[in-house]
């Protein structure tokens, strides 16, 4: 009897120990919720962050933004045809609802993401055909060699064809249809967590997928993940301080110091994949907002003067409280084509800047309007205010218009701006993306974010070529040449690379991911 009791007690305690070691809840917050569970209808950060917990991609960027195999175990260019990428699909993977993963699901998912209602199709425009070579091999045919195709697939989640057909969601949500599809609030992925309950914008509860293919490869210490978005920055911080959440993504700059001093809380920091810079309209004869009968921005000397007058180091110190990395180029260090030499920030020199202004014939300065967002980037409006006072020193009178992002980007897209603030991330981790969108001449499907009017034949040529060159060395030479040209011409005024801060309970072992996408399967508890 006594023996039995002891045995029972031991068993119970043993079970409790075992379960405490593996039953950890993590309460996670950030400012915005995922927009939809439908993995292909939105190309947006918070949505991808949530979907990465539920779904898998063929390959993904881990916490160091290195490419890692996900549902594809290997990928390479077809040996007979440089326009074909081959993906070998992991065997023995099942979806949360039990369907077995095959190449057919991958083909289905890629084609679904190419549908006209899918926002994700913007990343897949080079694809001509997706086909299954056998049950576990997928071939993707592109409209010419595309060395960057795999880089575009890191947020491309794989769904089950069977599940999609069962629920009538073979196509992504169509806004015009006026009704909600099953995929908006339900998900069936292969990922490390399954959704237990979801109230959009309120609370999403995930539980660990104990059948996950990677259960032995990753720590997988969280058994329950509770996500509650909190829009107000001060409430978000209060929730962490009061112990109601364990991990806070996107710590507001003004609270970093305070959280660092709080008991039991620590900050993790890292470079974010986003560079903040100023753009200038240089192709117009006369600027709309300027008080001179010419376009000062068309003169390289004026652009150089502005570059010298805008003091990124002061902005880093006084506006960003140290939480930024002054930049010389629009690409953070982990992007292919980054060069320390070009990212070097010249010391601000108002005297030399004034000389250049005199040489260019604008010794008395001029007046121009600067357009900024005030809710898109970290302290965006304050950055612009600092720029206004820095440019005043060389005689440029800047009228500042700071407004909400919905207006800022709409007016920017209508090409209404002479002088503007913009931030840019490089999701493909390759310079080609920067040239394609920011430097290439504005055309039908290239240069769509180039609002400077800059157009250079050689840069255009290089941009197209670097998207197709398969030889790595030749490609990197093209990238370096293109960077040199735009660097010498001073097309944009880079300010800084943004830094990311995540705050968490100090017994959590987790690092910042530069894409701002946490992969909770890597999180560990130190207890």
């Amino acid at each position: 009897m006594t023996f039995n009791k002891t045995l029972l007690a031991t068993a119970v305690i043993g079970a409790m120990l075992a379960s405490t070691a593996h039953a950890e809840t993590l309460r996670w917050t950030r400012s915005a919720d995922s927009l939809t569970m439908d993995p292909h209808s939105q190309n947006e950060g918070p949505t991808h962050s949530v979907n990465h917990q539920i779904f898998d991609t063929l390959l993904y960027q881990d916490m160091d933004v290195e490419y890692q195999p996900g549902l594809a175990t290997d990928w390479y260019v077809h040996e007979d045809d440089p326009s074909v990428w081959v993906f070998e699909i992991r065997e023995g993977v099942t979806f949360h609802e039990g369907q077995a993963l095959t190449a057919d699901d991958v083909v289905f998912s890629l084609n679904r993401a190419r549908h006209e209602h899918a926002d994700m199709r913007g990343l897949l425009t080079s694809i001509v055909e997706v086909r299954a070579a056998d049950d576990f091999t997928v071939e993707v045919v592109t409209d010419g060699p595309n060395p960057l195709l795999p880089n575009n697939l890191t947020n491309l989640f794989i769904m089950s064809r069977e599940w999609a057909e069962e629920h009538g969601v073979e196509e992504p949500q169509n806004y015009a249809a006026g009704e909600e599809t099953h995929a908006v609030r339900n998900a069936n992925g292969t990922g490390p967590f399954r959704v237990e309950s979801r109230e959009p914008d309120v609370r999403t509860v995930f539980v660990r997928n104990d059948d996950y293919w990677g259960i032995d490869h990753y720590p997988m210490e969280i058994s329950e993940l509770i996500f509650t978005p909190i829009e107000s920055a001060s409430t978000r911080v209060a929730a962490l301080l009061s112990g109601e959440v364990d991990l806070l993504q996107e710590t507001p700059v003004q609270d970093i110091e305070r959280l660092a001093q709080a008991d039991g809380i620590k900050n993790e920091q890292g470079a974010e994949n986003r560079t903040i810079f100023l753009g200038m309209r240089m192709d117009l004869e006369v600027l709309d907002s300027a008080d001179v009968d010419s376009n000062p921005f068309a003169d390289r000397r004026v652009r150089e003067a502005i570059n010298l007058a805008v003091d990124a180091t002061t902005i880093q110190r006084s506006v960003m409280r140290g939480n930024s990395e002054p930049a010389g180029m629009i690409a953070p260090p982990f992007v292919n084509g980054y060069s320390e030499e070009m990212d070097e920030v010249l010391p601000a020199d108002a005297e030399r800047a004034q000389e250049l202004m005199n040489e260019a014939g604008y010794g008395d300065g001029f007046r121009v309007t600067l357009n900024c967002s005030n809710d898109r980037y970290v302290n965006d409006e304050q950055i612009c205010q600092a720029v206004v006072s820095m440019l005043a020193r060389i005689g440029i009178t800047v009228d500042l218009i700071a407004q909400t992002r919905s207006l800022h980007f709409a007016e920017m897209a209508r090409e209404e701006y002479d002088f503007y603030l913009l931030g840019w991330g490089v999701p493909t981790m390759d310079s080609e993306y920067v040239f394609n969108y920011l430097y290439h001449t504005k055309e039908e499907d290239r240069g769509s974010w180039n609002f400077t009017g800059y157009s250079d034949e050689r840069v255009d040529e290089l941009t197209v070529a670097m998207g197709q060159e398969v030889d790595e060395e030749a490609r990197n030479e093209m990238i370096a040449e293109a960077w040199q040209i735009v660097h010498d011409e001073i097309i944009y005024i880079p300010i800084h690379h943004q830094m990311l801060t995540w705050s968490m309970r100090d017994d959590i072992d987790f690092q910042v991911q530069s894409e701002n996408t946490p992969h909770f399967k890597y999180l560990r508890f130190n207890n």
């Binding site: 939105q42 806004y175 909600e180 109230e199 959009p200 829009e231 039908e444």
Partner: protein, 326 residues
């Protein structure tokens, strides 16, 4: 009576149309929803195509006409942000807002009347002076600041109450969720209810106090005292009753205000109600949600005003004699 009613209903419809027109014209100043709906890789052609699918490329009068036609049938389409029917979103969020509004209204009314009576009857003592001074702070501090202060003191420093959210909820019937039946739900309600009700509380308190002082000077109170009635009966039966008539009118009108102004409180406390839904919609330029919310709030006010008018009609014989209200 019927003529009066019909006249009022027509006025209400006219007000709703004006609100719809103002709401609709505002949407053209909040920005372009399409840019929020597509990623940065989308081309100009992609954006134009989405704009066409949403009907945003139509001439403005046609857009307005469609908007009115749909709104009249309570058909607001699907949210640009979450791809869900707007009616579902609002119905899902409404219980949270109504519970918060009703609880904070009860808090404001009960505390307002009690404190109003106390300060009227005990003019000049230190507690009354303190309450009056504190009420000034309540009127002058903006709601978001009160919310942040309460969070700082009761959630962060003392750790007594939650800083955000609605706690655990229980489902009643098909669509109503309530936080009133769980401990965490009740605890979560305290800070937002105080924040939202504080302004109304001070308003009611000051009104009750002023009315009460007025009434206490009236002759019939003096006579009541002279008759030797107890202080309690005089104050609470004779004086208070007459004090409450204007107070009740104000309370009725303020209920609409509480629902409408829950926006700020809900944002500070991440309260999952319609106000927070509206703020998120504004940031995203989610036109269908903004439209539905504004129409709903206008409807609340119009209905409350209609009821108040009808009550006046019932109460005030002069309106009946003139055969209409002007």
């Amino acid at each position: 009576m019927l003529a009066f009613l019909i006249q009022r209903v027509f006025q209400a419809i006219f007000v709703m149309l004006v609100v719809a027109l103002i709401a609709f014209s505002l949407f053209h100043y909040v920005g372009d929803p399409v840019l929020n709906m597509v990623g940065q890789e989308a081309t100009e052609a992609d954006r134009a195509e989405l704009r066409a699918r949403l009907g945003l490329d139509q001439p403005i009068p046609i857009q307005f006409f469609q908007f009115i036609a749909n709104a009249a049938q309570f058909e607001f389409g699907i949210s640009y942000r979450s791809a869900r029917p707007v009616t579902d979103l609002i119905v899902e969020r409404l219980p949270a807002t109504l519970e918060l509004a009703i609880i904070s209204a009860i808090f404001a009314v009960v505390m307002g009347i009690v404190l109003g009576i106390y300060t009227a009857l005990n003019r000049g003592n230190w507690l009354s002076n303190f309450i009056m001074t504190a009420s000034l702070i309540g009127v002058s501090l903006p709601t978001f600041l009160i919310g942040v202060l309460l969070i700082y003191v009761f959630a962060v420093e003392l750790g007594w109450l939650p800083a955000f959210g609605r706690g655990e909820t229980v489902r009643l019937g098909d669509w109503w969720t309530t936080g009133l039946l769980t401990t965490s739900g009740l605890r979560s309600l305290i800070l937002p209810a105080i924040t939202l009700g504080l302004f109304q509380l001070t308003l009611i308190m000051r009104l009750v106090r002023a009315e009460m002082l007025e009434v206490l000077r009236a002759d019939y109170i003096k006579f009541a005292r002279a008759r030797g009635l107890s202080k309690r009966v005089v104050n609470l039966r004779h004086a208070l009753k007459n004090t409450l008539i204007p107070v009740i009118t104000i309370i009725g009108l303020q209920l609409g205000t509480i629902i409408a102004f829950a926006i700020i409180t809900e944002t500070v406390f991440q309260w999952p109600g319609v106000g927070a839904l509206f703020i998120t919609a504004v940031r995203f330029v989610d036109i269908p949600v903004m439209a539905a919310y504004l129409i709903m709030i206008a409807l609340v006010f119009v209905v409350i005003n209609l009821i108040v008018d009808l009550l006046y009609y019932a109460v005030d014989p002069r309106l009946r004699v003139q055969g209409g209200a002007k």
